[in-house]
Symmetry: C2
Subunit: 327 residues, 2 copies
């Protein structure tokens, strides 16, 4: 116990306060500056909560990810969880611990990246906590609060045998870009950056819920094979995946293992009744995002996954082949 | 990127799942196991959110705090924020990063401490996140979600000139016990442990709100002088504190500076109209907790704090004399 200045922490709180967006505060009755924030969810809605750690050395590296990317990715992780349940975001909360002597430019870049994405999806930063990191690592925990009409949030456990399996966007791009960064490549100035700036599928999730298109949904954070396994186990079903249908990201061309196991794509993986296949929008895109049918759920004694190649050969699909580590 | 086992993380999630309390899940429609948890706040209520970092080396130390204490303190920090606004807790969320090779006994003790307090106040642990810590430090972030009738949550900014200033419980005990621990003392087997096991004042906060007794409220996490300053600045008022009235904790006997600046007492500091003074309960206790009038708010050009000693001498009271550091 000793006398210390809290100047650094107060300055950080001030930065967060500026990053919070007063224009989007309609549902935020009280933001930063009291013991709690106060949110007013829409009438008849339930409240959805997700928290995600974003730790330097685990979830990002300062030599691979720019400060903007670290801020963007932190918020995107939480938003993607809301999207997976079809929820509408209400507010974000950030707990952030910076090492002593962290470059102010890094902090500003982090908040710029976070704020840009927050603005795009109109999510106010309504609070959080700050501390000095006890090590040389930047530590963040992002909390997203959202809402959905009572009883209607999309879940993992509600797929049925016979439902078709869909995925949004393209897979494997995030892992492919990470491998490039690991190999020392400069990020391309143009084009998509699925690793540095993944796009959470909030609008697709909301559309799936509103139009009652999906019977179950999850986001692809750990890789298609791992997250499909979560859907299978939660719903008590097995799944068949047609490898020839997998929408492989251009950055991962020819590397189907990245599309199957790569992780951090933050696309949505969902189940839908076969009767919906005829709908053109469902087959091709939803809320402007490509949607591809990649397989189907089947009944079986014990949940397992099967991959079918272009010749019709069937092989067991194992989950979680690849995991990102940043150490 | 490499192939890794997530066994440790999955085991930790299983521990958290067991620590979550199915009996108290009435307001938790969906707990651990999906992309988000789903909460259903009482009709007509707003939602309150607070997040608090609990970092080893900043907020606790393994050689001073037992594992049970670390778990208890983590949850108590968040609950105290809800209590300060008069909110009723709905659910807690824990993000926890453990260093590789953390003793399983420590983890079990942490959850035992957290769970015991959670049971006492009937707060289910409804989710969170886990990761491996990038350093040798245990990292936790606790999120508490609560609710209060719309527009009625207690705030810092709503005190009036002439309101009396009250505090619950006794002050300085937490700092006094910390100093003992720093000096190598074993925690006493009997008696209160205001540092190791602080008691969040949820019932008092709820009573203040329900009975409309308080005009403003804050919890004492940073020390009376610092948190009183927050109340003064938020309400645009000055304050006079009668030192002779301060309820000094027995552990801090004769050390009034610990009662003024000690921090981590997690008592409530609130303002109330003078017309309430006649009420016996208000003068002596509330929800079974002693309540003491220690001063009054006054109008002044610029918010400042004055301390008045037993001889009537007045002196400027400066905020934040002491801050706990654990490094």
């Amino acid at each position: 116990m000793k006398k210390t200045s809290r100047g650094g922490e107060l300055a950080l709180i001030e930065t967060i306060r500026r990053a919070s967006d007063a224009r989007a505060m309609g549902r935020v009755r009280l933001g930063i500056g009291d013991d709690c924030a106060i949110l007013r969810p829409p009438s008849g809605h339930e409240v959805l909560v997700t928290t995600d750690l974003c730790l330097e050395g685990r979830h990002f590296r300062r030599d691979w990810h720019t400060a903007e990317s670290a801020g963007h990715r932190c918020l995107a992780r939480g938003l993607s969880d809301l999207g997976a349940m079809g929820a509408r975001p209400l507010a974000a909360f950030l707990s952030l611990a910076l090492p002593a002597g962290t470059d102010g430019k890094w902090t500003a870049g982090f908040f710029r990246g976070l704020r840009k994405l927050a603005d795009e999806v109109a999510v106010p930063l309504a609070g959080g906590d700050t501390a000095q990191s006890p090590s040389e690592h930047i530590l963040a925990d992002i909390v997203l609060i959202g809402s959905a009409p009572a009883g209607e949030a999309l879940r993992r456990s509600t797929a049925h045998a016979g439902d078709l399996i869909y995925v949004t966007g393209r897979l494997g791009g995030s892992a492919a870009e990470l491998i490039s960064l690991q190999n020392g490549a400069e990020p391309a100035a143009k084009g998509e950056h699925p690793q540095l700036f993944p796009v959470p599928r909030l609008a697709v999730g909301e559309a799936l819920l509103r139009r009652r298109l999906a019977t179950a949904c999850i986001d692809i954070s750990d890789g298609l094979s791992t997250d499909l396994k979560h859907l299978c186990e939660a719903s008590g079903l097995s799944a068949e995946i047609d490898l020839s249908r997998l929408p492989v990201h251009p950055l991962a061309e020819g590397r189907i293992e990245l599309a199957l196991h790569g992780g951090e794509d933050y696309e949505l993986l969902f189940a839908a009744k076969p009767s919906l296949r005829a709908g053109l929008k469902m087959r091709r895109s939803l809320a402007g995002v490509p949607v591809t049918q990649i397989g189907r759920f089947i009944e079986r004694g014990r949940p397992l996954m099967v991959q079918i190649d272009s010749h019709g050969s069937r092989k067991r699909l194992e989950a979680g082949g690849w995991e990102h580590t940043f150490v």
